[in-house]
């Protein structure tokens, strides 16, 4: 089930978001749920949680979803050091 409000997302945006959250917010490989569909529900909430964490850091509306303002921040050039404990 795609994350709420993200039906319009391009696959490359989801891919970018997953890499971003893995690099800067400690999203685990397993959290991505791409290998074990039965874990998909849990992975979606793990992803949503990480998106909320990132939205909180950048002062965005904490929707848990990959809305356009969240994606545009993810596409900005930045430092490679994670934003949360690393």
């Amino acid at each position: 089930r795609p994350i709420d409000g993200n039906q319009h997302l391009k696959p490359e945006d989801v891919e970018l978001a997953e890499i971003y959250l893995k690099t800067f917010y400690g999203l685990k490989q397993t959290d991505r749920g791409d290998r074990f569909p039965q874990r998909r529900t849990r992975s979606v909430s793990a992803m949503e949680m990480k998106i909320r964490e990132m939205q909180n850091f950048f002062g965005l509306r904490e929707t848990g979803g990959l809305d356009s303002s969240t994606l545009s921040v993810m596409k900005l050039p930045r430092c490679g050091v994670p934003d949360v404990e690393n």
């Binding site: 690099t23 800067f24 850091f57 950048f58 002062g59 921040v73 900005l76 050039p77 930045r78 430092c79 490679g80 050091v81 934003d83 404990e85 690393n86």
Partner: protein, 369 residues
Amino acid sequence: FGFYPFKPKWKNHNVTYKIAKYTPDMSKEDVEKAFHSALKMWREAAPLRFTQVTSGNADIVLTFARKTHGDFFPFDGPGGVLAHAFQPGERMGGDVHFDEDETWTAGNQGYNLFAVAAHELGHSLGLSHSKDRSAIMYPNYRYRSSTQHTLSKDDMLGIQMLYGKPNQKVEIQSTAPQNCDPDFSFDAAAIIDDSIVLLKNRHMWMRTINGSYWNQLTEGLIKTYLPGINDRIDAAYDIPSKGEAYIFTGQKYWVVEKLKSRSRVGSIQDYGLPSRVTHIDAAVHISEQGKTVFFTGPFYYRFDEVKRQLEYSYPRLIQRNSRGLPRRVDAAFRIHGSIFLLSGPKSYQYDLKQKRVVKIIPGNSWLGC
């Protein structure tokens, strides 16, 4: 502001750094200048000292690399991640890696190296990312030349939580130039009354041409030696045959015949310089040619002292035929068959016969450092 877990920091406040690799996008000088400026900003906010080493180990090693480069964080090509750094610690601790797939610049065409280095060095000192958009430690790239050279309150508080405030004595001294500071640079230089005179802010050093003892004069004494010249001095040159020195402050120049005597004043327009030239960076007279060279920005002009007019086909780029010359000149003076050009922390010896730079030494070695 934020810290790494367990708040790692450098126990020894004398931190060494080494530039292991440069980027082909910029001149070595500009890369070093960007790193010096970034370190200077942190040094002014906390009791830290940075010493550059060129071989052996260093606390902080700065380098440029692309894609997979020996740590667990491969770069991602142009855009995206620009650089990363490691928290204070042994071996890779403190190191900074810049993504060579980016275009690095001293300006804003591409990613400004100073801006990114200032951020990454914050990590090398123990700071993690800040949520404060005005902070250097904010994770996303921003470059606004006007405000970029200052730490935000947030950065200041963060670094002082780790290392404390800059100790008072350093603050007081910061008005007096730190002669042997690796960043030390000069404002002007000339031969006056048979002495090499070097000037910085309102401080003046004098040494007889063949002597070796420097006599640092405090501001009060400058007023004695150069009465009436109260502004910061930009440039100076001398014409030995006339026994006169010319001191430039902004659009004015002062003709000094004898130290401690009052001087005549004129405008740099008297030299026929275009109105866009608002000040002179450096000047030096070449007696066998009867010409005076004026340096301003990356250009230089030549003035014929006999005809009292600027020569045609000028200005020219200082680095026009490279010859090892720096991009800009802060001060210049002539001894025997060489012109010494002081640029940033370096002194370039230009041999008039060979028409090229024959030696480069640290500028403050003229002060015995």
